[in-house]
Symmetry: C2
């Protein structure tokens, strides 16, 4: 299980997103009033000295900072909290408004809220190692152009040499792990698969629905291995996956985005089912391939994915990127 999460975390690491993921530990009183059950600590950050901003996101209102707490290296993550409907009345009545601009029916203000209604989620890693600091550093990504020859000469040898373990996938397929999480299974060895929620989804609401279908077939590393002989497998995953999601979550196919990644996070065929409108990292055109397109392409050209030049982003610290650079392909 530890292995599983480790492998899956790679998923969010490969997306080329500007800011790293934050594990969000929700509590009932998050952004709410203090309830007397918690201790007000001495402010351990009052003397915090910022060394550098590792990354930040103006869109998501978070910032990852490297600095020192009492001479120890630390990483501090700040993220503003979502605005809660149930705090609106108190927010409006208890805040100060400062007018910035008024034009006809439009006006803008800066609202200064009571601190307990407008908290900032703060995570401290201390002492932090070089590894922690690197983990939170914004990593640039580069778009790589991979021809049929590049795959054979660069990518495939890299995959084989790394021999990434997919034991955790086999554990799921053999019910040695996570059996209780399985939403649907077709046990057929050729076209069968297991459908289960992705770790990124807490299953509390369908707004951010995210499931993964893992094929029972073990010899398909990625999109590059697919030929027309795999069309029945892909069609089966697509069709039965949609049916299972309709039945379990009452979400019709017209609300789903169903796709494969290239490069994938792990080299065992799997398909992503996410809710349309949920802009999850990894659903961008530079990495995702709609399964419906994949099926059509293989039907009209059995060698489509073996012969095409494919494009995908790789992060600066990805070993595969070094291989492309060494080969003079970037």
């Amino acid at each position: 299980m530890a292995d599983t999460s480790a492998k899956r975390l790679i998923d969010s690491d490969k997306t080329g997103e500007p800011a790293p993921d934050i594990k969000r530990g929700k509590t009932d009183n998050e952004n709410g009033r203090e309830d007397g059950n918690e201790s007000v600590q001495e402010n351990v950050l009052s003397g915090f000295k910022t060394s550098s901003v590792l990354s930040d996101s103006a869109r998501e209102k978070n910032i990852f900072i490297h600095g020192k707490v009492a001479d120890q290296d630390a990483v501090v993550i700040l993220e503003k909290t979502p605005i809660r409907e149930d705090s609106l009345a108190e927010l409006f009545s208890g805040s100060t408004l400062k007018l910035e601009m008024k034009n006809d029916i439009y006006s803008t203000y800066r609202l200064q809220a009571p601190p307990h209604l407008n908290e900032i989620k703060t995570t401290v890693v201390c002492p932090a190692t070089e590894k922690h600091i690197k983990k939170y550093q914004r990593k640039e990504s580069f778009l790589v152009e991979e021809t049929e020859e590049d795959y054979k000469n660069i990518t495939l040898p890299h995959i084989l040499k790394q021999s990434f373990s997919v034991q955790w996938v086999y554990n799921i397929l053999e019910k040695k792990a996570e059996a209780e999480r399985i939403v649907y299974e077709d046990p057929d060895p050729d076209v069968g698969f297991v459908l289960l929620p992705d770790f990124k989804w807490d299953q509390k609401q369908v707004d951010d629905l995210y499931l993964i279908a893992i094929a029972h077939q073990r010899d398909i590393k990625s999109l590059r291995d697919l030929t027309s002989e795999h069309v029945p497998l892909l069609q089966n995953i697509f069709q039965k996956g949609k049916e299972a999601i309709l039945q379990r979550y009452n979400l019709p196919a017209s609300k789903l985005r169903v796709y494969l990644h290239y490069q994938p996070s792990y080299y065992h065929l799997h398909v992503h089912f996410t809710k349309l409108g949920y802009d999850v990292p990894g659903c961008g055109v530079e990495r995702a391939h709609l399964i419906a397109d994949v099926i059509q392409n293989l039907q009209s050209d059995p060698q489509y994915y073996k012969t095409r030049t494919l494009y995908f982003p790789l992060r600066a610290d990805d070993g595969l990127l070094s291989k492309f650079k060494e080969a003079g392909r970037l």
Copy 2:
């Protein structure tokens, strides 16, 4: 020019993103200390009564609310402000920390900041009409499956009947408008184009670079009209667009995501150039098509985009969606 922005706004309306865009008017003292030059208003929102939440985003920390200000309909938009590096020292020294969890080197807190360091951007539209309220309402989107026949029988007649004006595009191509915004032009009538910044990009940093290339050819409505005869045009836009962006913004091709939309916002061929890693609405696999893939597909099958089933999201209020529903295709 008014027409231009109106048309372009459709762009963000068609993405199927959960929350509508906010026009962000930045000021120098946003989220900063009050500087004495502004009036502290009577809190016009102190008696605000919420009727409904039109939409919200936990990721972006904003909320769009419909309610009443002194018996008048109003829309209020709240959005938390980005965390600024230059306010960190004061934030750390002046805040209260409440411990939530401590485990080994990891601890989490709720940070209560001085209000002037943690403002909420507030926009009020009052009185608001039914149209304003509709504009900010979260609109669900649905994935539509469009076969070759669906295009001929449903989509094409709808496009032709609507006869969407692209006069603003012709104004740009003829230098009657926005001539000063043009970054690059190839004037060739067959393979030429004009490259200019998208309105969504303020051009202040390349992190969110967004340019549009508009073809001089006027008879290509969308991806559906492309055949192998357009490959030279697409190659020219791709190649010269990349060169112009390298020269002007010092951003190499490996940092670019270059794609077409289907459905597009307006039916005159144009190509999107955005920075890789900037997850702009509309770059998702369900709507974007990499120009490099389009070129390859047309090279191997001249009729690829005329004959394929294409998938795209349509918002609930899109007239085209009604047509697909009427035809029993959803």
